[in-house]
């Protein structure tokens, strides 16, 4: 997390102004933070005021339902939150249930003060709050049970949803305590803080691979995603999107042919004052099949706008031009004086690294359902950023955000795509136009061509090595669209080191690595042209997906130029000096673990095969998981790369659900491989050329390598695992290709053509 994020909504992050409540309501025991001051908190002990602010409740039948304020997109975060609560509460896992929160601010993240799911932040930022919530419940239940049993609370033992008194052999189940109605206790913020939580050696639930609570719903078709929402009287919307990604305007809409489509209701041209979309038209009809037919029958003419001639080539050319200017961008890192150090360096290396546009393409295409009911706008959609998306929906409707209720659904993949709110706009405006609930579903073609993509990036890295082969200077320019600036939330931007103004740290995170380099600068340069033509978003792992591609490739290039082993050079650079103390050692240990597990350097590989290493501190310096990868590849004479094995080690501090972590890390590593080798989108005439899975081609089962995931849990605080492994794989593969055939490829994705060309060079 960047420091600034803490200030997103400061009034709701101050726990001292809130009170934690435990009490018995009509529906059972409910626990949570009150929205504000103590007076209100006390008043809220009445059942009617109590229910909306809950983190979890216990029903008279003993079932514990945890309300998850995080978007669950396959990382099983709801289950993870339940597991943390259950540990301190002392509940039996079979009694745990989960539900998804609405956008009520009471469900805001206790650290971030908003409802946003990303950055692999959820577990690390909610671990303490969920632990304390669980513990508070246990204390309240125990005191109530003690009163009922007539024994001292201190003699009671809580285990598996049962409170027992070993001396008298009396016991009560949670259900019985809740039914007794005696569990009533208010915790102030100080009380909560004072609760002594379990130490790791007392855990019986944290660190156990309990079955994820959402999985049974996902094997029998009953899990409800946004696309599955059905409302009475609902009609459907299909989109007509312009050939240009952003900046087009609708000149005219001819609906004469659409009117002949049975079930057609209306064509709605969006008037999007939130500027999220441009030039979109929604065809509304009784069924989705009819809406799609009508959309195909609409004849829409456009003014292509200012970006209609742009291509990937023009965006790269503009990036190069900007990088070449001495006064471009703002400094993210500025240690020492690299430019002076280059002057005295024995050897200077320079290289350009690029990545192409990448598309999220979650399996569930974007969709949203909007319904106006009285004064309230109800939105049903799986979304990662309810706080902002609700505001965008309100903007599209022309109402105050406080009148928007966001109903969270399971997400059919997120990967950062559902941080964005574009799908709200057509649903809201179509519902308003036809006076009925409308479900808008993107076609895959809409979804791909209107993605808030991972931006095309251009990076220039220069390294200076002294006479002893020591890395003394590194300069790193990162040119890209600025995805987070686009949100228009100043608190998500970071002050620059040179005080030139705020920068989007989500374009340079990762470049502030844990290597010791005395002279080091990083410039964040906004590619305004790309920013306007290809509104970018946060794609799983965000900036470290490109910054480590550059840094970890360059470290290898330095090793080869100085005759060192690339892995051992990293160990040398991770000396833990100064500001890198702590993190550097953890990353070094993780790298060594991966090397050992992969058998790095222990055997001679056949001709055309090689191993490559990389290590990363994704996501951000302050929220790092320590992750290393050894990639083993075979390269054919044609340049075609086959990944034989990925060995990943990751230090996550404390693991809540080991099997869940392995699933996340494996999925992330395969994402990294897919981005490294198979996924490439291109801009032409202002539009994204790839429209479906025939031209945009994520990894399939037949391309699956062996993946060995090794999790290091050393008792440090829990870190995030959903993203870091994405970032480590591309440089590991690139470095392995070099070790296999001597071909250095500096652009992603690594294609057979690029490898072959580099082999010849």
């Amino acid at each position: 997390m960047n420091k600034h994020v803490k200030n997103l909504a400061p009034e709701t992050t101050d726990l001292s102004r809130r009170s934690f409540l435990v009490g018995t309501a009509a529906t059972g025991l409910v626990l949570g933070y009150a929205a504000s001051g103590i007076d209100e908190a006390l008043a809220a002990t009445a059942p009617a005021n109590f229910e909306p602010s809950v983190w979890y409740s216990i029903a008279p039948d003993g079932l514990v339902t945890v309300t998850c304020g995080k978007a669950d997109m396959g990382q099983h975060v709801a289950s993870t939150m339940a597991q943390i609560v259950a540990e301190e509460l002392g509940a039996n896992w079979k009694d745990m249930r989960v539900q998804l929160a609405s956008n009520d601010p009471k469900f805001n993240d206790p650290v971030l003060g908003a409802q946003i799911t990303g950055g692999s932040w959820s577990t690390m930022m909610n671990f303490d709050a969920m632990s304390r919530a669980g513990a508070a419940g246990r204390i309240a239940l125990t005191e109530a049970a003690a009163a009922s049993m007539g024994v001292p609370a201190s003699e009671l033992v809580v285990r598996a949803s049962t409170i027992s008194h070993p001396k008298s052999k009396k016991s009560m189940s949670f259900a019985e305590v809740v039914k007794s109605g005696k569990a009533t206790k208010t915790f102030t913020a100080d009380d909560l803080k004072a609760i002594k939580l379990k130490s790791a050696d007392q855990y019986t639930m944290i660190g156990v691979s309990v079955p994820q609570l959402d999985i049974p719903l996902k094997v029998n078709g009953t899990a409800k995603y946004g696309i599955d929402v059905m409302l009475p009287g609902m009609v459907y919307g299909a989109l007509v999107t312009p050939p240009v990604r952003y900046g087009a305007t609708v000149k005219s809409v001819d609906d004469s042919a659409a009117k002949k489509v049975p079930g057609f209701i209306k064509a709605v041209t969006l008037d999007d004052k939130t500027t999220t979309t441009t030039g979109w038209v929604v065809a509304v009809a009784n069924t989705y099949a009819q809406a799609k037919k009508a959309a195909e029958a609409l004849k829409v003419s456009y003014d292509g706008g200012p970006n209609a001639k742009l291509s990937s080539e023009s965006l790269f050319a503009e990036a190069k031009r900007l990088q070449g200017l001495s006064d471009s961008g703002e400094f993210f890192v500025k240690d020492g004086d690299p430019n002076a150090a280059f002057g005295t360096a024995a050897k200077v290396l320079e290289a350009e690294y690029t990545t192409n546009i990448n598309i999220h393409a979650p399996m569930e295409p974007m969709n949203a359902t909007a319904e106006f009911k009285g004064d309230i706008l109800h939105i049903y959609s799986g979304n990662q950023f309810a706080t902002r998306s609700g505001a965008i929906a309100a903007g599209a409707a022309g109402i105050d955000p406080k009148f928007v209720v966001m109903h969270q659904m399971w997400l059919g993949g997120g990967f950062g795509r559902r941080l964005d709110a574009d799908m709200m706009v057509p649903a809201v405006q179509a519902a308003k136009a036809v006076g009925k609930p409308v479900k808008v579903i993107y076609t895959r073609e809409n979804d791909m061509t209107m993605d808030f993509s991972r931006p095309l990036t251009y990076q220039k890295v220069k390294a200076g090595v002294d006479g002893d082969g020591k890395l003394v200077a590194l300069s790193h320019d990162v040119v890209s669209a600025w995805p987070t600036q686009r949100w228009g939330i100043p608190d998500f931007l970071s002050p620059s080191v040179d005080k030139k103004g705020p920068l989007d740290a989500f374009t340079v995170n990762g470049s502030d690595f844990f290597y010791t380099v005395p002279n080091h600068y990083v410039r964040a340069i906004k590619n305004e042209m790309a920013h306007n033509a290809t509104p970018s978003g946060q794609l799983r792992s965000v900036a470290p997906g490109w910054t480590f591609w550059a840094v970890e490739s360059m470290v290898d290039e330095i090793a080869h130029a100085t005759g060192k082993d690339p892995a051992l050079l990293r160990v040398e650079l991770l000396d833990g000096k100064g500001k890198n103390d702590g993190g550097a050692q953890r990353l070094r240990n993780t790298l060594l673990a991966a090397m050992g597990l992969a058998g790095y350097g222990t055997k001679k590989l056949p001709k055309g095969e090689g191993m490559g290493v990389a290590c990363v501190s994704s996501q951000e310096r302050a929220t790092a998981s320590w992750t290393a990868c050894v990639a083993h590849v075979a390269v054919a004479p044609s340049g075609e790369v086959t990944v034989k094995k990925l060995t990943v080690a990751t230090d996550v501090g404390t693991q809540v659900n080991p099997d869940g972590i392995r699933a996340q890390v494996e999925g992330a590593a395969l994402w990294g491989m897919s981005l490294a080798l198979f996924e490439k989108a291109t801009l032409k005439d202002g539009g994204i050329e790839q429209t479906n899975f025939d031209t945009y081609t994520p990894l399939r089962m037949s391309q699956l390598p062996e993946v060995a995931v090794n999790v290091i849990a050393n008792g440090e605080k829990a870190t995030g695992v959903g993203e870091p492994a994405v970032t480590v794989v591309a440089p590991a593969i690139g470095n392995a290709v070099f070790n296999a055939v001597g071909a250095r490829v500096r652009g992603l994705p690594i294609t057979a053509e690029a490898v072959k060309a580099a082999m010849k060079a």
Partner: protein, 163 residues
């Protein structure tokens, strides 16, 4: 009004003959376990069975489905206890879960003909089904586990019949 035989029941639907079966199942019959992914037969999220064969319901017209036995994830077993569904839970396969109905239906068509597939046969049969969460290795393990369970069940079953 066309009649569909779906999950063992006859249901009449009201839609044009060229309507993709996918949308008839999801909207008219409100069985939402079958998912829309690409609309072009490229991802497999919409896989259902027609007379026991795995087909992409986004590429199958209503007219083509009339008179055939349609099975969706909701009808694969009475209580979600098909060996594949059990194996999917045992191996903790799903992440987001969106593609998994299609994955299970695709795999079920394979195991209904061959309960002893090789890894290569599994890969060849499943390669058209995308999983963006990349749960492929667990999908493979779950198919192998279900196949093994089916072989055991059928061996036990035949012994019983024999005695």
């Amino acid at each position: 009004m066309p009649n569909l035989n779906i999950n063992g029941r006859n249901m009449s639907v009201e839609a044009a003959n060229d309507t993709p079966l996918l949308w008839v199942i999801r909207e008219q019959l409100q069985m939402t376990g079958t998912k829309f992914g690409c609309g072009a037969g490229l991802c497999g999220a919409c896989t259902v069975h027609l007379n026991g064969e795995a087909v992409r319901s986004c590429q199958t017209s209503l007219a083509d489905a009339v008179g055939k036995k349609i099975t969706t994830i909701e009808g694969l077993s009475a209580k979600g206890e098909h060996p594949l569904q059990k194996a999917w839970v045992a191996e903790q396969v799903p992440q987001c879960g969106y593609c998994q109905s299609g994955q299970i239906m695709q795999a079920a068509a394979l195991l209904s003909k061959n309960t002893n597939p090789t890894k290569e046969e599994v890969v060849a049969h499943m390669d058209g089904n995308l999983c963006r969460c990349m749960t492929y290795s667990r999908i493979q393990k779950a198919i192998m586990r279900a196949a093994s369970d089916m072989r055991t069940a059928s061996a036990t079953g035949s012994e019983r019949r024999a005695t």
